[in-house]
Each structure stands twice: as C-alpha cells, then as structure tokens.
C-alpha cells in the first residue's frame, strides 16, 4: 500500500518538527557572535574551543561517563539473577518483586529525587558519589530487567533442561547455557541503562553536589543562568556523540529493535 501526497506532506511536517530544534542547535553552535543566533555566511569554531577550555563542564562530562558506566554495570550484575528468578521459577510474591523492580518507570523521577534527597541527608550521604551511583542503578534497572526478561522468555528452555538431565549442575547450566542465551539481552540492557543514566537530569538535580555534578545537571544550570552560545556548542557535541552511538547500535542490533523493543 502506498501513502498519498497528503500523507507524505504530513510526514514531512512531522519530521521537520522533530528535527527543527536539533538542527537549530547545530547551526547556532557555529556562530562567531556572542548571541544565540543562527550565523549567516560567517562561521566560527570559537564556542567549541570554549567548551574544551571550560574545566567544570569537562569534569561533569567525566562524572557522567563514569557514573553511567558503573550504574549500568552494577545494575546488569544485580539484574541477571533477578531476571532468572522471574522467568525460571514460580514463587510467592513474584508479581510484587517484578513490580517493585519496574517501579522506577511509573514513579516520576522527580519524586524519586526528593525521596533520595531525604534518605541521603538522614544517613549523611549527601554529595557522595557512591550513593549517587546506587541511585542511578535504581532508575536504570527497569530497562536492563525488561531486555533480559525478553531474552530469557524467548530462549529455548528445553536446552537448559537437557543439560540438567545430562548431569550438568546448576552452575554449569547457568554458565554454559543460560548466560550465553541471555547475552543479547545483557548487552542491550547495559547500553539502554548507560544511555538512561547518562541523560538523567530530574532525579540527579536533587542529589548531586558540586563535586559529583553530572553533565545534564550542569547543562540545566547553564541554560537557566546564561545565554551563551557555548551551551549550543555543548549540545551540538552531545547530538554528534548520540548520532555516533546510534550508528554503532544500529550496526550491532538494528536501532529500530532497540528503540521499539522486541515484542
């Protein structure tokens, strides 16, 4: 079936709407002036070099990178056994366990943020990078868990039973059969967890300190305080970085699968 001209026109307008802010950012980033304007004719890289001279900004970029890597890894390690429990066992309270682990998708990040802030002040963990990492583990776990459950449900359980009946003990079954079957889910889950941690702003704004501040929080502060084209340059860099990540993801998995999720 083909789309009529009206459908194509509509589609073009939606595309323009979706891409407009991103394109404008990338254009403004090359302005030679001090104002946030689209440059006509003359371009300059001065705001990009300003980004690399802004040590606070670079620091928060590294903070975010390390935080996202750690949070995604801890979350995956913790979620693998939980996903096996949910997909391979019958037990009382299974729905509750799954509901609790998926709850960060339903509870607004803002509410999680204020709850964490209360906990952190009470136990004296305000400004601690370790506790911030654990908080990020919480918000990225649903993404990791969902992909792992999908991978485990899709995998042949007969193979595991066959291995067990041939005398493999539970560890060997896990190590040689279940884990390899889960690997696509683990890798996809890790990547989604990483991206979601790296982009998180709403919860983090409550619980970061000047030392642990993440890139999105720093950018939020910059965007409310200044009208400097440097913000456009940082944003353009993030867009470029995301585009590269997306290209890699697409080559590895097919991006539409990662974004839509397997059925």
């Amino acid at each position: 079936m083909k789309n009529g001209p009206l459908a194509i026109l509509f589609h073009t307008m939606v595309l323009a709407f979706m891409l407009a802010p991103l394109v404008v950012i990338c254009l403004v980033a090359f302005t030679p002036t001090n104002t946030l304007q689209i440059p006509w004719g003359t371009y300059s890289l001065r705001w990009f070099s300003a980004v690399f001279e802004h040590s606070d900004l670079l620091q928060s970029f590294w903070n975010s990178l390390v935080l996202a890597g750690l949070a995604a890894t801890i979350s995956v390690v913790m979620t693998v056994p939980a996903a096996i429990a949910i997909t391979r066992y019958n037990f009382a309270g299974k729905q509750l366990v799954q509901g609790l682990l998926m709850s960060p998708l339903i509870v607004p990040h803002l509410v999680l943020g204020v709850a964490m802030l209360r906990l952190f002040t009470l136990i004296g963990a305000k400004g601690s990078a370790e506790w911030l990492t654990l908080a990020h583990v919480i918000i990225v776990t649903p993404y990791a868990l969902r992909l792992m459950i999908t991978a485990l449900v899709g995998a042949e359980q007969n193979v595991e039973q066959a291995a067990a009946s041939l005398g493999a003990n539970r560890w060997v079954v896990f190590r040689r059969i279940t884990l390899p079957l889960m690997l696509p889910g683990i890798a996809g889950g890790w990547i989604l967890a990483f991206i979601n941690s790296f982009d998180e702003v709403t919860m983090s704004i409550f619980i970061t300190s000047p030392q642990t501040i993440t890139l999105p929080v720093r950018m939020y502060m910059l965007a409310t305080e200044s009208i400097d084209p440097m913000m456009a340059a940082v944003s353009a860099l993030i867009i470029a970085l995301t585009a590269v990540t997306m290209f890699a993801l697409d080559r590895l998995y097919g991006l539409d699968k990662v974004l839509v999720g397997q059925k």
């Binding site: 950012i25 682990l101 509870v107 803002l110 908080a135 919480i138 456009a232």
Partner: protein, 284 residues
Amino acid sequence: MISNTRTPYFLSAPALGLFGLMVLFPFLLTFLLSFQRFDHQVGIVPGYTLDVYKHILNDSFYWEVFGRTAWVSLSTTLLCVLIGAPEAYVLSRMRAPWRSFFLVIILSPLLISVVVRAFGWSLVLGPAGLLNSFLQSIGLDRVRILYTPTAVVIALVHVMLPFMVIPVWTSLQKLDPQIENAALSLGASKFQVWWRVVLPQITPGLLSGALIVFALSASAFAIPGLVGGRRVKMVATLIYDEYLHELNWPLGAAIALILLLVNLLVMYVTQKMMEGRYARRMGS
C-alpha cells in the same frame, strides 16, 4: 518453570535489598516528612500534623499550579494522539528501507538528553529565534511564545511523541493488511477503512501511549523549567523550588506525594477501563 521455595528469593535478594533501601525506605521517610511542619526559624518542627495538606488545599495558588499542569499535560496528550497515531500509520505503510529509516529518525530524539532538546526549543521559540525570524521575513509580527504554556506544550509534544508512536506502531505491526484490502474491495471508502477497521484495532496501543504521555508530562521537570521559565509554574518546578530554594521540605514532600498519587490513580483507572473494554469485546 521450577517451583522452589528458596532459590528465587536468593537470586533476587541483591536487587530487592537495594530497592528496599533506596525506594521503599525513602518513600516511607518522605511520607512521614509530609506530615511534619516547616518553620523559617527552627526548620522542620517535630511532631506530626495535617497542616501542610490543609495549607495546600486552602491556597488557590496550589490549585492553580495543579490545574495548569493538568491542562498542559492533557493538551500534550491530545496533540500526541493527533500527530503520533497518523504518523505511525504513514510509517507502517512505507516501503522497507525507508520505513525503519524514518522510524529511527522519529524515535532518535529519545536518546538525546531532554536538556538539549529543551534548549533547542528555546532557540526556536525565543524572541530572536527561528520562528520569529521566519514570521518577520514573511512580513508578520513577532510572537512572544517562549516562557508561555504554549511553548511548554510544543516542547513536551516533541519529547513525548516517540512514546506515542512506539505503542501505536507495535499494534499496527500486528494488523493484517488483508483485512483493509477486504474492506476496500467490499466498497468501503479510505476514511471508512481507517475509522472502522484500523482505528479500533490500534485503540489499545493508542490508549497505553496516551497514558504514558500524560503521566510523563504531568511530572516533567526540565521542559517546564527551561521553556516555561519562572512565569509558567508547574507541579514539578514548584516541588523543585520548595525543596531547593524555599527549603520547605514538608511542603515539597506533600506536593510530590499528591503528584505521585494522582499519577497512579490515572494509570489505575485507565487500566481498569481498558480491561473492561476487552472483557466486553471478548464477549464475556
């Protein structure tokens, strides 16, 4: 499936422990906090009262903020339905390479930080932004749109559209194109096919998309913060101010819990409505 008494608990213990410590416990603390009172001299006053909730219910300012948030979220949801559903349909009718290419373009903003997207909209809608340059170039007056609820709705639609396209797209994938062809061959107009054949089948996807969009819009923080500014106060930015500027944590906690409660209630009611619908459909 293995029925075993201890192993599954043992396997999920690390995750459960962390979620207990960092989700359930902090919620209990916040719940208790909302029943305390804040004094500018002494800070949080010991003892539990309903003062904060009474204060919120009796002050029209809070009603106004909640009303604005509901209105902005509903407009966003409606626009996402009106744009997202047809777009998903158009995408599903495209040919192979273009289909996934455009789907990825529509969904890719999901991966870009919401702060970047909010900043992008402030560039488009600002006084000297793209929109005003365009209006001037065709001889129209400038519009003041940044820092108004309209700007918040526009930026929210941009952020939420993927959440609408995904479920509708998924339900369209399950659709059998032969049914559409059958309807056409039996003399139905294109509009009739859409209205009577396609739409009923994608309604579940449409509803779950609308639910996600509404819930996420109602609690969105970065978009109203950056595109709405101080003038367009929404629930999320209000909570932020109470916590980090006014330092009135009990008040902030109470508003946050009301937000959570309303969100959960909307989800529950929608879920029940959908279940009821299906029960009727299946003829039970």
